[in-house]
Amino acid sequence: MPIYLPIAELPVNVFLILGLGLAIGFISGMFGIGGGFLLTPLLILIGIPPAVAVASVPSHMAASSFSGAISYWRKRLVDWGLGFVLLSGAMLGTASGVWFFALLRRFGQLDLFIALAYIVLLTIVGTMTAAESLRAIVRSWRGTPPILRRPGTHAWFHGLPFKLRFRQSRIYVSAVPVTVIGFAAGFIGAVMGVGGGFLLVPALIYLMRVPTTVAVGTSLFLTLMTMLVATVLHAIENRTVDAVLALVLMLGGVFGAQFGARAGQAIRAEQLRLLLGILIIAVGVRVAADLVSKPVELFSVVPKEIWE
C-alpha cells in the first residue's frame, strides 16, 4: 500500500515504513538507545533523501523513547538528577556538534568522516560492551559471585569537585564527568546524525557504574529531551521534517518500544549488554564492509543543495 510523503516528495510502502519503525522501536526500548544509528541509514537505503531522513528520525526516537521512558519511570528506573545533569552537557554538545558538522561540510568528505567515525566508535563501544558482558556471563556460569561494587577502587575523576549523590543510580560522583559524558553524547550524536544513546548507555554503565536498567531508563529520558529539541530545530533550520513519514515511523516505533522494554527487563542484564554489544559491532562491520568492498555503481548523483 503506497503512501505519498509530502516533504520527501515520493511514494513509499506504508507497511515497510511501519515495519521499520516497529523493529527499530523494539531495539530502542530493549536497549535504551534511540536507534537512529540504525534507522537513518535504512531510510536512506530505501530512497528517502538524507536531509529528510536525518530530520524526521528524531521525532520517531522521541516517540519511542517517551513510550519506553514511561515504562522505565513506572518501575522507578529513571534517575532524574543524573538525567538533568547529563542533559545540560548534551545540549551544549549538540550545539557544538551542529557547528562542527557545518565545518566538515565546507571541507568536503563528510561522508567519509561519518563512515570512519561510525566504524571506530561502534567497534570500540561494541567490543568493550560485548567483552565485558561475556566475562560477566562466564563468571555467573562458573558460579563465581559477580563483582558488583568495588568500594576501594576509585577512578581519577572521583577526586573532582561538585560531588553529587544520585540515589537511583547508587553513585556519588562529581558533576564534571557526568556533564562531559552528556556533552560527548550530544556532540557525536549531532555530528553523526544519531541520538547518541549507544554511547551514553555503555558510558554510564562502565565509567559511572550505574546499574544497567537505570542507565537504560535515564538514557531514554535524555534521548526524549534531545530528540524533541532536534525535531523543532530541524523544522526551523532545514524545513525537511516529513510529518507523514514521522507519524508512520512513530506508530510502529511506540508499539515496538513497548515490547522491547518488556523484553529488555525480562532478560538478564549481562545478556542484554552482550546483545547490545553484538548489535553495535554488526552495524560497525556493515559500515566497514561498505567502505572496503567495490560498489556496483562507482558514480552517485545527489541534488545540489535542493533544500536551500
Binding site: 505519498y4 513510550s67 561522508d111 567519509l112 555503481e297 552517485s300 541534488p303 543543495e305
Partner: protein
Amino acid sequence: MKRDVVTRSTMAAALGAACLLATPATAERLVTSVSTHRVLINSNFSGTELVLFGIVDDAPAGTLIGAYDVVVSVRGPARSYVTRHKERVLGLWVNTDSRDFDQVPSYLAVLSNKPIAEIGSPEMLRRYRIGLVNNVLPPQAGSDVSDVPPEDSFRGAFLRVKTNEGAYTADPKGITFLTPRFFRAAVPIPGTAQTGDYDVETLLIAKGAMLAQQQTAIEVVKTGFEAAVAQEARNHRFFYGLGTALLALITGLIATLLFRYD
C-alpha cells in the same frame, strides 16, 4: 497504479480544441493533445501515465505508416546535481572526483517511433535536443579547466544513474502510429516526480528533416492534505516542528496507555 483513462469522446473533444490552436505552417502541421494538463498528487499517488495523441494535418494523400518520425520529449523542472565518482584510496572506496550538472531536467522522457540514431544526423539531433544525451550538457570540469573527463564518463554515468532511478526514460518504441497520420504516446510519470511545470515537446520529422514542432505544458501539483503539510512546513516552521514533536509525545502516550495492563 492509478492510470488516467482517456475515453474516445473526451479524446475527440480535446483534439477538436487543440485543432483551433494549431500553428499555421507551410506543409504538414502537427496537432497534439495530452490527456491532462494537471497531474494531481494525493496521498496514494504512486505515479501515473500521461497519454499524448497527435495528428499530422495537411499530409499528402497516400502517406504510408513510416513516412513520418515523431519524437516526444518531456522535461521536468530544472534542478542542479552533483555526480561523484568513487575510487579506491588506501583500500577504501571514497569519493575522489565530482562534476556539477547545473539546471538539467529533474525528469526527462524521450519517446520516439524508432531508435533516435535512425531519425536524423548527430548534428540535427543535437540542434533540436533529441535524445537523453542531448538534453544534458557536458559538465563543468570544476576549478581545473584542463581536467576534461575521459570519454565524457560523468555525463554517461549521470544519465545511467538517473535512468536507473526512473527519472529519465528513453523509449524508442514509445510512439505508436495508429494510422499513417495519427499517433499515440504514453509518458510514464513516476511517483518521485518533482512538483512543477513539465514541458512537453513534439517534433515531426521526415527523412531527417524537421517538419513541425508543437509545445505544450503540464503541471505536477500536490493537492489537499499533501499540499497543506508542505505549506505548513514552509510557512510556519516553528509550529510545524512543535506540532511534530507533540505528535511524538501523543503517540508515545497512547501506546503506553494501551499497554498498561501491569
